[in-house]
Each structure stands twice: as C-alpha cells, then as structure tokens.
C-alpha cells in the first residue's frame, strides 16, 4: 500500500486546472501548424494564423487561451494499491475550486440546471473514476467549453445501420454543428457499449493526441477516412469556408449488445485542452 494525501491531490488538481487552460497541448500545436501549411484558402489561412497567435499569446501572458475555461472534466485512474489519506472526491473538488479561483479562470458552473445559480468556484467538477492495477494515481484535467460540448450528439443506431450508419451519423453531426463549435475541431467518436458508456467513449477519445491513431487498423483507417470526409465539407476555420474543418478524428470502441449500435460524437474546439499528473 502506498499512501497519498488529500492535500497532495488538491495541489496537483489546482495546478492542472491552471496549466490546462493556459497551455495548448503539443499535438494540437502540431495539428494547427500542419493545417496552416496545407490550407489553400486565404481567408482560412488568416484565421488559422490568428488562432496560432492566440495560443502563443495566452502562454506568454499567462492568460487562458479561451474565455470559456469550461466545466472541469477530471479523469482519475486510481491504482488499487493506493491508499488515500482523506476523501479523494473532496480533494479533487477542492483542487478545482482553488485552481479556478487562483488561476483567474471563469466560473461557469451553475448549481441547478433550471434554477441556474452560479457556484462561484466552478465546482462541482465532472469526475470519472477508473480503478487500475498498481500503486499510482493518474489525474487528467480536461476543461471543456460549452460551444463545442453543446454540439455533441448520441444515437442508438440499429445493427443494420452498420458502418455506413456510423459514418453518416458522424458527418451529420459535424455538418449540423457548422461554425458553432469553433472549428477547426477535434471529433471524438464513441461506438458500442450502451447509452452511458458510448458518451464516455466519445469524451475519452478527445483525450488521445490527435496524431495517435486507434491501435485497431480498421478504426485507424476509419479515423482517416472520416477526417478526409469532414475536411471535404468546406466549413473551414470558424465556418468562413476552407479546407481545415477538423484537425483530427479519434474513435474509441467497446463491446455492445446483439440488438445495439450506440454511437456518440463529442466535439472538441481548436482549444482542446488537457493536462495529466501522475502521483
């Protein structure tokens, strides 16, 4: 048994909240640079220049890249040989609270979806726990803004819809979203599982670097095919027209029922952010 204190966890989460909002991950930087190089449409190239200048400036000024610093989505991998001294849930929420207050991040969470009173510290975070082997605690903070999150879709397709149905569902979601989710986007796709699992698959897909393909060659090929199809739509950066509608398509899959073909799309914006700490 290895013991990790609640205070250590709060400190780590606090730092992850601040860093993830200020620093765009390397895979997104590479993706934007490559997209800029390959963008043939002048208006679109200009928008990409501004987007690149924006994340650079945010890092230099220690300012959030985007004003929507999101709901904090926290992914926890808890090694089963770890003992937490204190409440893990409380420690994470405290870290989020301090990160959003100390980091001058926007408090965008309301306590009740109908009453809509701001909680003033961006808690509660949406926490997903996994118990894994080992004696480590891995925490990822992925702030998720509403502009892209609101464009998400979920469908319980029929097995007879098959691969063609999945492709159509993903393309329709991107088409309907148009300029709203701040393209160039990252498209997280979940296929399989059940109603709740497929949404989590789509969200988790956004945590994978955009230049790392699904290990299953069939899904890796589908990621490439969907990316090409999406970038043939012409929506372009910010929807003003152009080649670069998406920087990446990441697919995650899970086993499913004989009668089911769940499919979910979770869209990430050009500020698809996450930072990880291992304790």
């Amino acid at each position: 048994m290895r013991t990790i204190s609640a205070a250590e966890i709060s400190d780590a989460v606090r730092a992850l909240c601040i860093e993830s909002n200020r620093i765009l991950p390397d895979d997104m930087r590479r993706g934007l640079a490559a997209a800029r190089k390959n963008e043939p449409w002048p208006t679109a190239a200009g928008v990409l220049d501004d987007i690149i200048e924006n994340y650079r400036r945010a890092e230099r000024l220690e300012m959030p890249v985007c004003q929507d610093t999101g709901m904090a989505c926290v992914f926890v991998e808890l090694g089963q040989e770890v003992h937490i001294d204190g409440s893990l849930e409380d420690a994470i929420q405290e870290g989020v609270r301090r990160g959003y207050l100390d980091g001058y991040l926007r408090k965008s969470v309301v306590s009740d979806p109908i009453e809509r009173i701001n909680t003033l510290d961006n808690t509660p975070a949406v926490i997903t726990y996994d118990v894994v082997t080992g004696d480590r605690l891995t925490i990822t903070v992925a702030p998720k803004g509403a502009g892209s999150e609101n464009m998400g879709r979920l469908a319980m397709l029929k097995p007879s819809d098959g691969l063609a149905g999945v492709k159509k569902f993903v393309l329709d979601a991107v088409e309907a979203a148009g300029p709203n989710p701040c393209p160039p986007i990252v498209v997280g796709v979940g296929i399989g599982g059940n109603f709740d699992r497929v949404a989590l698959l789509a969200k988790r897909a956004l945590l994978r670097p955009i230049d790392r393909r699904n290990p299953n060659p069939a899904y890796a090929a589908l990621e490439k095919e969907l990316l090409d199809s999406i970038n043939a739509l012409g929506i372009g950066p910010q929807g003003f027209g152009g080649r670069t509608t998406a920087l990446g398509v990441n697919i995650e899959v899970f086993a499913t029922h004989i009668a089911q073909l769940p499919c979910a799309v979770n869209i990430g914006c050009h500020v698809t952010r996450h930072q990880t700490a291992v304790l």
Binding site: N54, P64, R106, N150, Q238
Partner: protein, 195 residues
C-alpha cells in the same frame, strides 16, 4: 478578405448598410457585453415596460463572458460565445431598443436574419476561442449592470481595432453560406484544371 473596414460606435443604420457579408472590420469605440442571463433580464424589463440599464440605440452587444481580470489587467480572456442562444431575444432588442449590431460566433436563426434586414443591423463574428488575442483590443472595462451574474454581467468596453467579420448583412447575405460555397467552387475549379 480585402482591406479592413473601420467601424466606430455609435453605429448607425447608415454605417450598417455599407457592410457586406465577408467584410473584415475593425471596431473602435464603446461596445456592451451581454449573454444568456443578461439577455433574459433585459427582456423581462421590456415585458414590464421598465427602462434598461443602458441605452442600446445604435449600439453593439458583444456576446462574451470574460475570465476575471488579474490584478493590473483590464480584462481576462474575452472571445465570443456561441450566438444562437441569444436568438430568442435578439429580434426584440433590435425592434424595441434600436440595437444595431451583435458580435458573437456561429449560426443565427432565420428570425434574427430577418430582424437584421428589417432594422438595418449587422451580425459580426469574432474568432471563437481567441480569448487572449481579442482581450488585447480592450482599453477599459466598466460594470454597467447585474454584477451578481459574474462573467455574464453587462459591461461597457472601450475597444480599439477589435477585429471581426460580417456574417449577416442587411441585404440578407450570409457568410457561413457564401464563404463555404466560394471555397468549394475553388476546389472544384482546381480539380477541373487537373483533369
């Protein structure tokens, strides 16, 4: 996009009529921030026949909820939020208060497009997610109303050369349609040339 056009506020119908979808503009002057919760309150005031906390005639509302300013800064990150959530409110503000322009990002409803035509307004898009870039154009930021709404409060911003693009103009043009069409025509022409 060609040479950028300059907009100053107050922003009149005469100025708005000169703008066309696709024009890149630089805005200088006073603009007001407002998004979901503030719009809801403004409409409730109109329903009650009460005065609004600020004069909106020939003004521009920027759909933004900035991050808190750090000590010594004027404002935090301040990029646009998605506009369609204000579609339910925008036509009434244009009709009843004389609101002339809106800055946001993303699609608008046919009703908003019609209100822009009818009232000679304009809908502009700033680059979504460009919070740090757009913040640098803000020279002052002053609370006007609803501080309890935090980032959603109405604030008066003085901006210099705030960059935006005309999406909907008063002739009914829509950049989200025309820009995409122009790009796809360009791609088809290129492919035709290669055959």
């Amino acid at each position: 996009m060609n040479e950028k056009k300059r907009i100053t506020t107050p922003f009149t119908a005469e100025q708005a009529r000169l703008l066309r979808a696709g024009d890149a503009v630089l805005i200088t002057g006073t603009i007001y921030t407002g998004r979901d919760a503030a719009h809801k309150r403004l409409i409730e005031l109109l329903d009650a026949g009460k005065p609004l906390p600020c004069e909106l005639r020939d003004q521009i509302i920027y759909y933004v909820g900035p991050t808190p300013a750090r000590p010594g800064d004027i404002i935090g990150a301040a990029g646009p939020t998605t506009s369609y959530r204000m579609d339910a409110y925008a036509p009434r503000l244009m009709a009843e208060t004389g609101l002339r322009g809106m800055i946001g990002k993303g699609l608008r409803s046919p009703r908003v497009a019609a209100a822009i035509r009818d009232h000679h307004g304009v809908y502009l898009a700033a680059i979504g997610g460009a919070g740090a870039l757009l913040a640098s154009t803000v020279r002052s930021c002053e609370m006007v109303a609803y501080p309890d709404l935090q980032s959603e409060a109405i604030r008066r911003l003085e901006v210099v050369d705030f960059p935006a693009v005309v999406v909907l103009d008063c002739e009914g043009n829509n950049l989200y349609e025309s820009g995409r069409r122009a790009y796809l025509d360009f791609v088809r022409a290129q492919q035709g040339g290669e055959r």
